[in-house]
Amino acid sequence: MLDPLALAVAWPLLGALSITLLPRWAAHLGILAAVGATLSALGVAFAVMDSGSLTSELGGWKIPLGIGLRADGLAAAFLAMVNLVALGVSIHASVYFADSKARHHFWPLWFLLWTALNALWLARDLFNLYVTLELMGLSAAALGALSGTRESISANLRYLLLGLAGSMTYLLGVALLYVAYGSLDLVQVARSLAPGPSSAAACALMIGGLSLKAALFPLHFWLPPAHASAPAPVSAALSALVVKAAIYLVLRLWLDLFAGIANASAAMLLGLLGGSAVLWGSWQALRAERLKLLAAYSTVAQIGYLAMFLPLIAAAADERGRASLLVAWVLLALTHGLAKASFFLATGLVQKTTGHDRIAELGGAAQSLPAATFALGLAGAALIGLPPSGTFFAKWILIQAAIASGQWWWVPVIMLGTLLALGYVFRLLARAFTREPTPPHFVTSARAELSALLLAVLAMLGVGLAARPIANLLGV
């Protein structure tokens, strides 16, 4: 019996192991494994689209005893996005790391991270989630430190330690749930969950621990230095995927596990943190002096939007409103994943060409890399939420829900956040239009530049206009 879910986890892991054994062929094996992993993940997504959610019981044991994997629409949507982004990052990295000493170390760690990500979307066992979180945290920190600079090592050490604290907190929550409900399976626990001190405490611990990993304001302080100092392809993966994984889990637990006890005031608290993150992150991005720092703060803001959905989902009048908010959440998250990855990859190209990423001194450099600048522009537009990106439609639905539920105060936050985003993106793009002539060719290094550009195009044109199939995938 072929198990597509297990395959989606096994492919990248196999890639990591084979590269560990044969480091000389890292780049070739890497592309091979990347393509395989992406195909298997897309296979899962299509299967889910065809026949609804898939479940498998690993080891052949019934679920509370064995570990279950599950791909529902939400997981499948993220799985597809993450693997596409990861494929793009891999192709880019094959150029980026081609003549760097770090290449021996990048590939196996990168595939371990990929394994963790795929395992995380598919997990439905609470303790298994803990293991994937740790795998993700360790590999992400190790990857982030690959640039070898002092800042990168100390920032990623901090990230590693905070991540550990976060996942330990999460694990304590899991322990409390096991005590009270005697199961580790997300669905089973959710079914028997009853309001009370133990479920409330578990909820607070698990969501709190994950918020730390998701860099939700005010626990975001570790993110900008860590993401800004990593090598560009790694930053792309960290900002686009790793943080996304944690916030995805927040939503997943919130909606699936704690649906019975998650009340409006807790949701409002998370929403307020999200709103503050939007304003604070955007403001810091506007003031950032370095391109990668700008991108990192923009991630803080985007995570804020994702948290802002929670009070609105709680206040949604009917199932239809809830469903459309959920779709909007996914649109925003997917668009941000693609756009932020592209943004960082393009930033890496600029940094490699100019030797630095100080915004004030970029002029002309951007001009000499039309494709990368174009990717920056498109990705930036998608981050702002200009149509027809997914962010635009997501914000539309968000504002609509805010007005409909009477929580009008989110509207100025969204408006202001959008304008600030506009400011920080165009502060950058304005430097692309200098008087220097462009080089004769649009593309100079096809693999490196086109991977960034394609991700940006997907972010701008793919996700938003594909809202219908995504909604179908989510089953709403």
Binding site: E134, S154, L157, L161, A165, M168, T169, L172, A175
Partner: protein, 99 residues
């Protein structure tokens, strides 16, 4: 359930919680890699302790093997993370030396 077992579970469980909180507090309040790593390991021990405590089902009965397996996994994960963090720290010190 046997009250004696319940009391034992509760006692050790609370100790586990206390360890967890002590560790977290120390983690927040103290700078320096050493102290933070020790703090994190105490945090981990606390969580594991809770799990071991709830697995206990009396001296005569086989304890619940599931939490035990979780703790085993957890210990290995914790040592991996500690080793990695120490390597980070050592590298930082090296860079300080060369600087």
């Amino acid at each position: 359930m046997n009250p004696e077992i319940l009391i034992t579970q509760m006692l050790y469980g609370c100790i586990g919680l206390a360890l967890f909180l002590l560790g977290i507090g120390s983690f927040i309040l103290h700078e320096g890699l050493w102290r933070r790593l020790i703090a994190l390991n105490v945090v981990g021990s606390g969580v594991f302790h809770v799990l071991v405590a709830v697995a206990y089902r009396g001296l005569e009965q086989t304890p619940d093997p599931i939490p035990h397996a979780l703790v085993l996994t957890g210990i290995v994960v914790a040592v991996s993370a500690t080793a990695l963090a120490l390597a980070f720290g050592r590298h930082l010190e090296d860079q300080n030396d060369h600087a």
